[in-house]
Symmetry: C2
Subunit: 217 residues, 2 copies
DNA sequence: ATATAATATTAGGTAACTCTAATTATATTT
DNA sequence: AAATATAATTAGAGTTACCTAATATTATAT
Protein backbone atom coordinates (compact mmCIF):
# COMPACT_ATOMS: atom_id res chain seq x y z
CA UNK A 1 0.00 0.00 0.00
CA UNK A 2 1.00 3.58 -0.58
CA UNK A 3 0.83 6.36 1.96
CA UNK A 4 -1.12 9.56 1.74
CA UNK A 5 2.11 11.42 1.13
CA UNK A 6 3.09 9.12 -1.70
CA UNK A 7 -0.31 9.68 -3.26
CA UNK A 8 0.21 13.42 -3.10
CA UNK A 9 3.56 13.19 -4.86
CA UNK A 10 2.07 11.03 -7.61
CA UNK A 11 -0.79 13.46 -8.01
CA UNK A 12 1.63 16.37 -8.20
CA UNK A 13 3.62 14.67 -10.94
CA UNK A 14 0.39 13.91 -12.80
CA UNK A 15 -0.82 17.49 -12.57
CA UNK A 16 2.53 18.85 -13.74
CA UNK A 17 2.53 16.52 -16.72
CA UNK A 18 -1.08 17.44 -17.54
CA UNK A 19 -0.29 21.14 -17.53
CA UNK A 20 2.22 20.48 -20.29
CA UNK A 21 5.36 20.55 -18.22
CA UNK A 22 8.15 19.16 -20.33
CA UNK A 23 10.57 18.34 -17.55
CA UNK A 24 9.28 17.46 -14.10
CA UNK A 25 12.20 18.33 -11.86
CA UNK A 26 12.55 18.03 -8.10
CA UNK A 27 12.20 21.81 -7.82
CA UNK A 28 9.00 21.82 -9.85
CA UNK A 29 7.48 19.17 -7.60
CA UNK A 30 8.75 20.98 -4.52
CA UNK A 31 6.92 24.13 -5.60
CA UNK A 32 3.78 22.21 -6.50
CA UNK A 33 3.37 20.71 -3.05
CA UNK A 34 5.24 23.28 -0.97
CA UNK A 35 8.05 21.21 0.39
CA UNK A 36 11.79 21.52 0.24
CA UNK A 37 13.54 20.18 -2.86
CA UNK A 38 15.69 17.95 -0.66
CA UNK A 39 12.56 16.21 0.59
CA UNK A 40 11.46 15.64 -2.98
CA UNK A 41 14.74 13.97 -3.80
CA UNK A 42 14.16 11.57 -0.90
CA UNK A 43 10.67 10.76 -2.08
CA UNK A 44 11.72 10.38 -5.72
CA UNK A 45 14.15 7.72 -4.59
CA UNK A 46 11.41 5.93 -2.70
CA UNK A 47 8.85 6.09 -5.50
CA UNK A 48 11.45 4.91 -7.98
CA UNK A 49 12.22 1.89 -5.80
CA UNK A 50 8.52 1.13 -5.60
CA UNK A 51 8.41 1.43 -9.39
CA UNK A 52 5.72 4.06 -9.30
CA UNK A 53 7.79 6.56 -11.23
CA UNK A 54 10.73 6.68 -13.61
CA UNK A 55 13.37 9.25 -12.88
CA UNK A 56 16.28 10.53 -14.86
CA UNK A 57 18.21 13.63 -13.97
CA UNK A 58 18.07 14.87 -17.57
CA UNK A 59 14.48 14.01 -18.34
CA UNK A 60 12.94 14.52 -14.93
CA UNK A 61 10.26 12.37 -13.36
CA UNK A 62 7.38 10.59 -15.04
CA UNK A 63 4.77 8.13 -13.84
CA UNK A 64 5.04 4.41 -14.50
CA UNK A 65 1.89 2.59 -15.62
CA UNK A 66 1.16 1.67 -12.04
CA UNK A 67 1.92 5.16 -10.77
CA UNK A 68 -0.33 6.69 -13.41
CA UNK A 69 -3.15 4.39 -12.42
CA UNK A 70 -2.89 5.50 -8.80
CA UNK A 71 -2.63 9.17 -9.74
CA UNK A 72 -5.69 9.02 -12.00
CA UNK A 73 -7.61 7.25 -9.29
CA UNK A 74 -6.82 10.03 -6.81
CA UNK A 75 -7.78 12.69 -9.31
CA UNK A 76 -11.01 10.84 -10.04
CA UNK A 77 -11.91 10.74 -6.37
CA UNK A 78 -10.90 14.34 -5.85
CA UNK A 79 -13.18 15.57 -8.62
CA UNK A 80 -16.10 13.34 -7.68
CA UNK A 81 -15.95 14.59 -4.11
CA UNK A 82 -15.88 18.15 -5.42
CA UNK A 83 -19.11 17.52 -7.28
CA UNK A 84 -20.59 16.02 -4.12
CA UNK A 85 -19.61 18.98 -1.97
CA UNK A 86 -20.98 21.48 -4.45
CA UNK A 87 -24.13 19.70 -5.62
CA UNK A 88 -25.19 17.89 -2.49
CA UNK A 89 -23.81 19.85 0.42
CA UNK A 90 -24.18 23.26 -1.18
CA UNK A 91 -20.59 24.37 -0.68
CA UNK A 92 -19.33 27.20 -2.84
CA UNK A 93 -16.81 26.81 -5.64
CA UNK A 94 -13.89 28.19 -3.74
CA UNK A 95 -14.03 25.96 -0.65
CA UNK A 96 -14.64 22.68 -2.37
CA UNK A 97 -11.04 22.11 -3.42
CA UNK A 98 -9.43 22.05 0.00
CA UNK A 99 -11.96 19.61 1.42
CA UNK A 100 -11.60 17.35 -1.59
CA UNK A 101 -7.85 17.32 -0.93
CA UNK A 102 -8.64 15.37 2.20
CA UNK A 103 -11.48 13.25 0.85
CA UNK A 104 -9.50 12.02 -2.14
CA UNK A 105 -7.42 9.80 0.16
CA UNK A 106 -10.31 7.80 1.60
CA UNK A 107 -9.71 4.20 0.67
CA UNK A 108 -12.27 1.60 -0.33
CA UNK A 109 -12.38 -0.20 -3.66
CA UNK A 110 -16.01 0.46 -4.43
CA UNK A 111 -16.14 3.98 -3.08
CA UNK A 112 -15.36 5.95 -6.24
CA UNK A 113 -17.78 3.90 -8.32
CA UNK A 114 -20.61 4.20 -5.82
CA UNK A 115 -20.06 7.92 -5.46
CA UNK A 116 -19.92 8.27 -9.23
CA UNK A 117 -23.26 6.51 -9.64
CA UNK A 118 -24.82 8.49 -6.80
CA UNK A 119 -23.79 11.75 -8.46
CA UNK A 120 -25.16 10.66 -11.84
CA UNK A 121 -21.82 9.88 -13.50
CA UNK A 122 -20.69 13.47 -14.02
CA UNK A 123 -18.05 14.07 -16.69
CA UNK A 124 -16.68 17.34 -15.37
CA UNK A 125 -16.11 18.73 -11.91
CA UNK A 126 -17.16 22.19 -10.69
CA UNK A 127 -13.97 23.71 -12.08
CA UNK A 128 -14.62 22.18 -15.48
CA UNK A 129 -11.88 19.59 -15.07
CA UNK A 130 -12.61 16.18 -16.61
CA UNK A 131 -13.42 13.32 -14.24
CA UNK A 132 -11.66 10.10 -15.22
CA UNK A 133 -14.04 7.14 -15.45
CA UNK A 134 -13.65 3.80 -13.69
CA UNK A 135 -11.30 2.59 -16.42
CA UNK A 136 -9.08 5.63 -16.00
CA UNK A 137 -10.19 7.21 -19.26
CA UNK A 138 -10.19 11.00 -19.13
CA UNK A 139 -12.91 12.97 -20.99
CA UNK A 140 -11.57 15.47 -23.51
CA UNK A 141 -11.08 19.00 -22.42
CA UNK A 142 -11.15 22.43 -23.99
CA UNK A 143 -7.72 23.80 -24.84
CA UNK A 144 -8.46 27.28 -26.09
CA UNK A 145 -7.74 30.22 -23.81
CA UNK A 146 -10.10 33.14 -23.62
CA UNK A 147 -7.13 35.28 -24.61
CA UNK A 148 -6.96 33.45 -27.95
CA UNK A 149 -10.55 34.24 -28.97
CA UNK A 150 -10.89 36.77 -31.80
CA UNK A 151 -12.70 40.07 -31.42
CA UNK A 152 -16.41 39.66 -32.09
CA UNK A 153 -16.40 35.95 -31.30
CA UNK A 154 -18.41 34.34 -28.50
CA UNK A 155 -17.44 31.37 -26.41
CA UNK A 156 -18.44 29.48 -23.28
CA UNK A 157 -16.35 28.84 -20.20
CA UNK A 158 -15.31 25.19 -20.19
CA UNK A 159 -12.73 25.03 -17.42
CA UNK A 160 -10.34 27.09 -15.39
CA UNK A 161 -6.60 26.82 -14.96
CA UNK A 162 -6.35 28.14 -11.44
CA UNK A 163 -8.14 26.96 -8.32
CA UNK A 164 -6.91 29.49 -5.79
CA UNK A 165 -9.54 31.04 -3.56
CA UNK A 166 -8.79 34.61 -4.68
CA UNK A 167 -9.22 33.60 -8.29
CA UNK A 168 -12.49 31.74 -7.67
CA UNK A 169 -13.86 34.59 -5.62
CA UNK A 170 -13.03 37.05 -8.37
CA UNK A 171 -14.84 34.86 -10.91
CA UNK A 172 -17.86 34.77 -8.67
CA UNK A 173 -17.76 38.55 -8.40
CA UNK A 174 -17.70 38.76 -12.21
CA UNK A 175 -20.64 36.29 -12.38
CA UNK A 176 -18.52 33.87 -14.37
CA UNK A 177 -19.02 30.14 -13.89
CA UNK A 178 -18.66 27.00 -15.98
CA UNK A 179 -20.92 27.36 -19.03
CA UNK A 180 -21.11 31.15 -18.89
CA UNK A 181 -21.20 32.75 -22.33
CA UNK A 182 -18.45 35.31 -22.94
CA UNK A 183 -18.17 37.60 -25.97
CA UNK A 184 -14.89 39.31 -26.80
CA UNK A 185 -15.62 42.94 -27.71
CA UNK A 186 -12.23 44.60 -27.79
CA UNK A 187 -8.56 43.96 -27.13
CA UNK A 188 -6.40 46.68 -25.64
CA UNK A 189 -2.99 46.63 -27.33
CA UNK A 190 -1.24 48.40 -24.46
CA UNK A 191 -1.55 45.65 -21.81
CA UNK A 192 -3.55 42.98 -23.69
CA UNK A 193 -6.59 43.56 -21.50
CA UNK A 194 -9.81 42.35 -23.06
CA UNK A 195 -13.20 43.99 -23.03
CA UNK A 196 -15.84 41.30 -22.77
CA UNK A 197 -19.53 40.87 -22.34
CA UNK A 198 -20.33 38.30 -19.68
CA UNK A 199 -23.67 36.60 -20.24
CA UNK A 200 -26.30 39.32 -20.64
CA UNK A 201 -24.45 41.74 -18.38
CA UNK A 202 -22.83 44.99 -19.35
CA UNK A 203 -19.32 44.94 -20.65
CA UNK A 204 -16.32 44.58 -18.36
CA UNK A 205 -12.61 44.72 -18.86
CA UNK A 206 -10.51 41.78 -17.73
CA UNK A 207 -6.75 41.43 -17.60
CA UNK A 208 -4.59 39.26 -19.83
CA UNK A 209 -3.75 37.23 -16.74
CA UNK A 210 -7.41 36.40 -16.19
CA UNK A 211 -8.02 35.63 -19.86
CA UNK A 212 -5.09 33.22 -19.75
CA UNK A 213 -6.69 31.32 -16.88
CA UNK A 214 -9.98 30.60 -18.62
CA UNK A 215 -10.39 27.66 -20.99
CA UNK A 216 -13.26 28.03 -23.45
CA UNK A 217 -14.89 26.33 -26.41
CA UNK B 1 -4.66 21.62 16.10
CA UNK B 2 -4.83 17.98 17.01
CA UNK B 3 -3.59 15.14 14.84
CA UNK B 4 -5.55 12.20 13.49
CA UNK B 5 -3.83 9.99 16.04
CA UNK B 6 -4.78 12.24 18.92
CA UNK B 7 -8.36 12.21 17.70
CA UNK B 8 -8.35 8.44 17.72
CA UNK B 9 -7.10 8.30 21.29
CA UNK B 10 -9.76 10.76 22.43
CA UNK B 11 -12.42 8.76 20.63
CA UNK B 12 -11.19 5.55 22.26
CA UNK B 13 -11.40 7.10 25.71
CA UNK B 14 -14.87 8.38 24.93
CA UNK B 15 -16.05 4.99 23.72
CA UNK B 16 -14.63 3.24 26.76
CA UNK B 17 -16.35 5.67 29.08
CA UNK B 18 -19.63 5.30 27.19
CA UNK B 19 -19.54 1.54 27.50
CA UNK B 20 -19.51 1.98 31.25
CA UNK B 21 -15.86 1.37 31.86
CA UNK B 22 -15.09 2.48 35.40
CA UNK B 23 -11.35 2.83 35.04
CA UNK B 24 -9.83 3.72 31.69
CA UNK B 25 -6.31 2.38 31.99
CA UNK B 26 -3.47 2.44 29.47
CA UNK B 27 -4.00 -1.27 28.84
CA UNK B 28 -7.70 -0.75 28.16
CA UNK B 29 -6.93 1.98 25.63
CA UNK B 30 -4.17 -0.14 24.12
CA UNK B 31 -6.64 -2.96 23.49
CA UNK B 32 -9.27 -0.59 22.13
CA UNK B 33 -7.03 0.79 19.40
CA UNK B 34 -4.61 -2.12 18.99
CA UNK B 35 -1.39 -0.51 20.02
CA UNK B 36 1.17 -1.31 22.64
CA UNK B 37 0.53 -0.06 26.17
CA UNK B 38 3.87 1.74 26.13
CA UNK B 39 2.68 3.85 23.19
CA UNK B 40 -0.45 4.72 25.11
CA UNK B 41 1.58 5.96 28.07
CA UNK B 42 3.43 8.31 25.72
CA UNK B 43 0.23 9.62 24.23
CA UNK B 44 -1.44 10.02 27.62
CA UNK B 45 1.42 12.26 28.63
CA UNK B 46 0.96 14.33 25.48
CA UNK B 47 -2.81 14.65 25.78
CA UNK B 48 -2.45 15.58 29.43
CA UNK B 49 -0.04 18.36 28.53
CA UNK B 50 -2.47 19.59 25.91
CA UNK B 51 -5.17 19.50 28.61
CA UNK B 52 -7.39 17.26 26.53
CA UNK B 53 -7.54 14.59 29.21
CA UNK B 54 -7.05 14.17 32.95
CA UNK B 55 -4.97 11.23 34.05
CA UNK B 56 -4.39 9.66 37.41
CA UNK B 57 -2.78 6.29 37.86
CA UNK B 58 -5.47 5.25 40.35
CA UNK B 59 -8.51 6.62 38.52
CA UNK B 60 -7.35 6.16 34.96
CA UNK B 61 -7.94 8.59 32.10
CA UNK B 62 -10.94 10.83 31.49
CA UNK B 63 -11.69 13.54 28.99
CA UNK B 64 -11.46 17.23 29.86
CA UNK B 65 -14.26 19.51 28.66
CA UNK B 66 -12.24 20.36 25.60
CA UNK B 67 -11.27 16.73 24.98
CA UNK B 68 -14.88 15.65 25.29
CA UNK B 69 -15.95 18.26 22.78
CA UNK B 70 -13.44 16.97 20.25
CA UNK B 71 -14.38 13.32 20.89
CA UNK B 72 -18.09 13.99 20.48
CA UNK B 73 -17.41 15.88 17.30
CA UNK B 74 -15.51 12.91 15.86
CA UNK B 75 -18.26 10.51 16.90
CA UNK B 76 -20.85 12.82 15.36
CA UNK B 77 -18.99 12.85 12.06
CA UNK B 78 -18.39 9.12 12.17
CA UNK B 79 -22.07 8.36 12.57
CA UNK B 80 -23.25 10.91 10.03
CA UNK B 81 -20.89 9.46 7.44
CA UNK B 82 -22.19 6.00 8.27
CA UNK B 83 -25.71 7.16 7.46
CA UNK B 84 -24.45 8.67 4.23
CA UNK B 85 -22.68 5.50 3.16
CA UNK B 86 -25.67 3.34 3.91
CA UNK B 87 -28.52 5.57 2.75
CA UNK B 88 -26.94 7.33 -0.19
CA UNK B 89 -24.21 5.06 -1.49
CA UNK B 90 -26.01 1.82 -0.76
CA UNK B 91 -23.24 0.22 1.27
CA UNK B 92 -24.16 -2.63 3.55
CA UNK B 93 -24.18 -2.44 7.33
CA UNK B 94 -20.97 -4.29 7.86
CA UNK B 95 -18.67 -2.23 5.61
CA UNK B 96 -19.83 1.19 6.64
CA UNK B 97 -17.86 1.32 9.87
CA UNK B 98 -14.36 1.00 8.46
CA UNK B 99 -14.91 3.68 5.83
CA UNK B 100 -16.40 6.04 8.41
CA UNK B 101 -13.23 5.53 10.47
CA UNK B 102 -11.43 7.40 7.73
CA UNK B 103 -14.12 9.94 6.91
CA UNK B 104 -14.55 11.07 10.51
CA UNK B 105 -11.19 12.85 10.36
CA UNK B 106 -12.03 15.13 7.44
CA UNK B 107 -11.76 18.67 8.72
CA UNK B 108 -13.95 21.64 7.85
CA UNK B 109 -16.05 23.61 10.31
CA UNK B 110 -19.29 23.47 8.37
CA UNK B 111 -18.93 19.92 7.12
CA UNK B 112 -20.77 18.03 9.86
CA UNK B 113 -23.65 20.50 9.84
CA UNK B 114 -24.05 20.45 6.09
CA UNK B 115 -23.89 16.67 6.00
CA UNK B 116 -26.39 16.51 8.83
CA UNK B 117 -28.84 18.72 6.97
CA UNK B 118 -28.32 16.82 3.72
CA UNK B 119 -29.13 13.55 5.47
CA UNK B 120 -32.26 14.99 7.08
CA UNK B 121 -30.87 15.38 10.62
CA UNK B 122 -30.88 11.70 11.57
CA UNK B 123 -30.87 10.90 15.28
CA UNK B 124 -29.42 7.40 15.08
CA UNK B 125 -26.84 5.78 12.83
CA UNK B 126 -27.25 2.43 11.04
CA UNK B 127 -26.07 0.57 14.14
CA UNK B 128 -28.64 2.36 16.29
CA UNK B 129 -26.05 4.51 18.00
CA UNK B 130 -27.15 8.06 18.79
CA UNK B 131 -25.76 10.88 16.65
CA UNK B 132 -24.72 13.88 18.74
CA UNK B 133 -26.21 17.14 17.45
CA UNK B 134 -24.30 20.30 16.61
CA UNK B 135 -24.31 21.33 20.26
CA UNK B 136 -22.81 18.01 21.31
CA UNK B 137 -26.04 16.74 22.87
CA UNK B 138 -26.45 12.99 22.55
CA UNK B 139 -29.93 11.49 21.98
CA UNK B 140 -30.99 8.98 24.60
CA UNK B 141 -30.37 5.36 23.96
CA UNK B 142 -31.95 2.05 24.91
CA UNK B 143 -30.22 0.25 27.76
CA UNK B 144 -32.10 -3.04 28.02
CA UNK B 145 -30.43 -6.14 26.66
CA UNK B 146 -32.43 -8.73 24.76
CA UNK B 147 -31.22 -11.21 27.37
CA UNK B 148 -33.09 -9.25 30.05
CA UNK B 149 -36.49 -9.47 28.34
CA UNK B 150 -39.00 -11.77 30.08
CA UNK B 151 -40.49 -14.80 28.39
CA UNK B 152 -43.59 -13.85 26.42
CA UNK B 153 -42.54 -10.21 26.04
CA UNK B 154 -41.91 -8.50 22.70
CA UNK B 155 -39.38 -5.81 21.98
CA UNK B 156 -37.73 -3.97 19.10
CA UNK B 157 -34.06 -3.79 18.27
CA UNK B 158 -32.79 -0.31 19.15
CA UNK B 159 -29.04 -0.65 18.86
CA UNK B 160 -26.20 -3.13 18.84
CA UNK B 161 -23.16 -3.40 21.08
CA UNK B 162 -20.77 -4.93 18.58
CA UNK B 163 -19.82 -3.69 15.13
CA UNK B 164 -17.57 -6.49 13.94
CA UNK B 165 -18.19 -7.78 10.44
CA UNK B 166 -18.91 -11.36 11.57
CA UNK B 167 -21.52 -10.12 14.00
CA UNK B 168 -23.20 -7.86 11.45
CA UNK B 169 -23.22 -10.58 8.85
CA UNK B 170 -24.82 -12.99 11.29
CA UNK B 171 -27.52 -10.42 12.07
CA UNK B 172 -28.20 -10.04 8.40
CA UNK B 173 -28.48 -13.79 8.06
CA UNK B 174 -31.01 -13.83 10.90
CA UNK B 175 -32.94 -10.95 9.19
CA UNK B 176 -32.41 -8.76 12.21
CA UNK B 177 -31.92 -5.03 11.72
CA UNK B 178 -32.63 -1.86 13.69
CA UNK B 179 -36.37 -1.75 14.39
CA UNK B 180 -36.95 -5.48 13.97
CA UNK B 181 -39.56 -6.86 16.37
CA UNK B 182 -38.33 -9.75 18.52
CA UNK B 183 -40.49 -11.89 20.81
CA UNK B 184 -38.89 -13.99 23.54
CA UNK B 185 -40.55 -17.44 23.53
CA UNK B 186 -38.37 -19.55 25.76
CA UNK B 187 -35.15 -19.47 27.77
CA UNK B 188 -32.95 -22.54 27.97
CA UNK B 189 -31.60 -22.87 31.51
CA UNK B 190 -28.64 -25.03 30.47
CA UNK B 191 -26.71 -22.39 28.47
CA UNK B 192 -29.08 -19.39 28.65
CA UNK B 193 -29.87 -19.64 24.96
CA UNK B 194 -33.08 -17.90 24.00
CA UNK B 195 -35.76 -19.06 21.63
CA UNK B 196 -37.14 -16.04 19.81
CA UNK B 197 -39.47 -15.11 17.03
CA UNK B 198 -37.92 -12.61 14.68
CA UNK B 199 -40.47 -10.42 12.94
CA UNK B 200 -43.02 -12.68 11.32
CA UNK B 201 -40.50 -15.47 10.76
CA UNK B 202 -40.45 -18.87 12.36
CA UNK B 203 -38.75 -19.23 15.69
CA UNK B 204 -34.98 -19.43 16.04
CA UNK B 205 -32.63 -20.06 18.90
CA UNK B 206 -29.96 -17.52 19.65
CA UNK B 207 -27.08 -17.70 22.09
CA UNK B 208 -26.70 -15.75 25.31
CA UNK B 209 -23.73 -14.04 23.71
CA UNK B 210 -25.90 -12.72 20.90
CA UNK B 211 -28.72 -11.69 23.24
CA UNK B 212 -26.16 -9.71 25.26
CA UNK B 213 -25.14 -7.75 22.19
CA UNK B 214 -28.60 -6.49 21.29
CA UNK B 215 -30.09 -3.39 22.91
CA UNK B 216 -33.87 -3.22 22.78
CA UNK B 217 -36.81 -1.15 23.95
C1' DA C 1 35.77 29.25 -21.77
C1' DT C 2 35.11 30.84 -17.43
C1' DA C 3 32.44 32.96 -13.87
C1' DT C 4 28.02 33.01 -11.95
C1' DA C 5 23.72 31.42 -10.95
C1' DA C 6 20.51 27.81 -10.51
C1' DT C 7 19.48 23.03 -9.46
C1' DA C 8 20.26 18.53 -7.61
C1' DT C 9 22.09 15.81 -4.17
C1' DT C 10 24.04 14.30 0.23
C1' DA C 11 24.65 14.53 5.17
C1' DG C 12 22.87 15.11 9.44
C1' DG C 13 18.92 16.24 12.35
C1' DT C 14 14.00 16.74 14.13
C1' DA C 15 9.13 15.44 15.28
C1' DA C 16 5.39 12.21 15.58
C1' DC C 17 4.18 7.75 16.52
C1' DT C 18 5.26 3.28 16.94
C1' DC C 19 7.73 -0.89 18.91
C1' DT C 20 10.43 -4.35 22.25
C1' DA C 21 12.66 -5.22 26.44
C1' DA C 22 13.68 -3.99 31.03
C1' DT C 23 12.09 -2.03 35.27
C1' DT C 24 9.04 -0.53 38.80
C1' DA C 25 4.64 -0.42 40.98
C1' DT C 26 0.31 -2.42 42.20
C1' DA C 27 -2.92 -6.35 42.89
C1' DT C 28 -3.94 -11.00 43.87
C1' DT C 29 -3.11 -15.43 45.79
C1' DT C 30 -1.65 -18.56 48.90
C1' DA D 1 3.07 -11.10 54.66
C1' DA D 2 5.56 -13.17 50.99
C1' DA D 3 5.19 -14.85 46.39
C1' DT D 4 3.36 -14.27 42.11
C1' DA D 5 0.99 -12.22 38.52
C1' DT D 6 -0.58 -8.10 36.22
C1' DA D 7 -0.18 -3.48 34.92
C1' DA D 8 2.37 0.93 34.30
C1' DT D 9 6.37 3.09 33.13
C1' DT D 10 11.00 4.10 31.27
C1' DA D 11 14.76 3.41 28.04
C1' DG D 12 16.29 2.77 23.66
C1' DA D 13 15.34 2.24 18.87
C1' DG D 14 12.88 2.17 14.14
C1' DT D 15 10.04 4.48 10.45
C1' DT D 16 8.20 8.19 7.75
C1' DA D 17 8.43 12.52 6.14
C1' DC D 18 10.16 16.64 6.79
C1' DC D 19 13.99 20.30 7.46
C1' DT D 20 18.73 23.12 7.00
C1' DA D 21 23.28 23.51 5.48
C1' DA D 22 26.93 21.96 2.67
C1' DT D 23 28.49 20.16 -1.63
C1' DA D 24 28.28 18.78 -6.35
C1' DT D 25 26.47 19.29 -10.76
C1' DT D 26 24.55 21.59 -14.71
C1' DA D 27 23.06 25.66 -17.23
C1' DT D 28 23.51 30.62 -18.41
C1' DA D 29 25.80 34.76 -19.31
C1' DT D 30 29.63 37.37 -20.13
Amino acid sequence: MHSLTEENYLKAIYRLSQSGNLKISPTAIAEEINVNAASVVDMIKKLKEKQLIVYDKKLGASLSDHGLKIAIDIVRKHRLWEVFLLDKLGYSWDVVHEIAEQLEHIKHEELADRLDRFLGNPEYDPHGDPIPNAKGEVPSVANTLLSEIEIGQSCQLAAIKDTSAVFLQYLEQLSISIGTRIKVLEKIPFDHSIVVQIGKENKTTVSKKLADSLLVY
